[in-house]
Symmetry: C2
Subunit: 387 residues, 2 copies
Amino acid sequence: MRGVAIIGCGMTKFGRLEGKDLMDLLAEASLRAIDDAGAGERDFDSVYVGNMMAGELVHQTTIASALVDRINLIPAAAERVENGPASGASAVKNGFLAVASGASDLVLVAGGEKMTAADTDVIGDLVSTMTHPTAEYAHGVTLPAMAAMLTRLYMERYGVTERHLAMVAVKNHANALKNPYAHLQRKCTIEGAMSSIMIADPLRLYYCCPISDGAAALVLCPAEKAKEFSGEPVRIAGFGHATDTHAVQEREDPAVLKSVQLASQHAFKLAKLEPKDIDVVELHDAFEILEIAQSEDAGFFPKGEGHLAVEKGITTLEGELPINPSGGLKARGHPVGATGVAQIVELVWHLRGEAGERQVKDAKRAFACNFGGFGNNTVIHILERMG
Amino acid sequence: MRGVAIIGCGMTKFGRLEGKDLMDLLAEASLRAIDDAGAGERDFDSVYVGNMMAGELVHQTTIASALVDRINLIPAAAERVENGPASGASAVKNGFLAVASGASDLVLVAGGEKMTAADTDVIGDLVSTMTHPTAEYAHGVTLPAMAAMLTRLYMERYGVTERHLAMVAVKNHANALKNPYAHLQRKCTIEGAMSSIMIADPLRLYYCCPISDGAAALVLCPAEKAKEFSGEPVRIAGFGHATDTHAVQEREDPAVLKSVQLASQHAFKLAKLEPKDIDVVELHDAFEILEIAQSEDAGFFPKGEGHLAVEKGITTLEGELPINPSGGLKARGHPVGATGVAQIVELVWHLRGEAGERQVKDAKRAFACNFGGFGNNTVIHILERMG
């Protein structure tokens, strides 16, 4: 397998982006990434677009073909990758494989979603279409409801309290305040979070991510050709991708995110690294309990002790293992198909030392977890500074 | 790049399949392919699902995760690939790259669509969502209308007549009569075709494909491991993938399918073969004019002479270059996401000598063209007998 480098990255601001449609967002992020790589005059071989719901939300299909035309990359190969909320990282993985295989020498990976194109109740329903049709969807189970049940389990079994959820939200909002691309750039206090409206008991508004528009993009090439481009290269050191039962109720232990465990183990093995080698992490906190659970199942903390790390401040920007310096899904926002790509864009900025006010000091190795369904499909990437 | 072999294949019957939902179809085709490979006891690394419109048609997203659960392939990696009508071949290409890169040793590729889940006018609109939103869709352009315009151009410029279109339909229906998997298993006569109702002048009903349900699947592994499995292996000798302008009106010559030309040239180069080396072909005749045009732009006949080859019987089962022995999209049917995979399943059967009554004699090398949008995204595969 050929080594693969990320040589360019870019993203749009996340948020409720009036006046910009999905193709505007994908084009904006893509052109920033191409410009960042200094690859504007190059011929791209392939384009991968991570997106969950363009057909459903904006009534447009084959958006990868559309993007290639919009940004003048014809005749590059193009396809859309859909893997629910893990669509972005799935697109990155397939772009990685296109380069690793030797088939492509220059690949654009973009992820985007225009979530505010539909009303909130429509979004809530569409997102629920990823649950099991007969075991879950038919009974009216929603993603916030599932996260609430996981939270309850964590509270009973591991002593997680509502205050721990609030602490994660406060941390992620504080990070987002330093991130000009974040959707929610406002301070959040423990008291504010704990008095916000109840969404699905025990989950309040501040323990759930917002509905956002946005896009992010990366340019990939073989590691040995990275020097031909202007951006400081970052190596994709490893990836992992694993599935779990579709219906959560069929899992041996619903508090264990097995797909996160397996995908992380695979990625660490491929990268020849261990959790202790990682300097900065982006996790998929669509709900704050997920940041805690993923930090355990990825191998950073023992099971049931993720909330203790939060308590000790280990996961803050100044802590031993900063998690979600971007603000995470909670505060940077979660335009579904964009998220997996945006996580990697954020980490590349840290590895390059370009993350501004929120820069994690001397970050050399980074870890991203993009979580599909309710944990039935997880894609992990491990990145490493090349210089 | 590692050599990649197809070691198993299977499909459902195509047609209006009452009582079977999309997951039933994908599971049925997948289990047949796995059984064909003798891989029922093996651990799969990755699953790629080609599908255009599950969210829109059957209100289910993340169907790749669902399939992996349904047929017990957890924890295999899984994602859906969407590339309009070329979704199937795009999924095959990415499965190929997963093996070629060394990342996966055993991959399932499935393609499927449940088209009859919606009314015909809904389907007509959904299929049109792949056209350019402002330059085409907003003006009410449909795919049959585009094909009608291409047909008109071919008639004026190259002397194609309605009788040529009818001859392609008659040939493909005759082939489908010998294919138990085909949707339309009934004879079609020149007179019958030429007196069928007008859809988009000059295209009558019999010059357009039907709306079908169905699924098809393949099992891939490294060529050097093919002997471990029971199915007679077929090598993926080459692939090509190219895009063209989204809006047809922006093409220098709208009668030239440039993405077919470029993708074919790339595939032949990779396979170190030429058009004359090919024994059997599957083309994307969603409309009969496309079989003629693709046979030229893929390099089998000079531009403007595809219809002469039809006249001479060259493309019949007994001819020098049989095209669409399966019955093609016209008569085997066109469940959009399944088509690109089904084309390859058909060709594998011919290369193995398992195509029954419609077997192309001593077929050693085969060519498949899966055509996305209205020619803005084409994926080509070239297959070769390994024995």
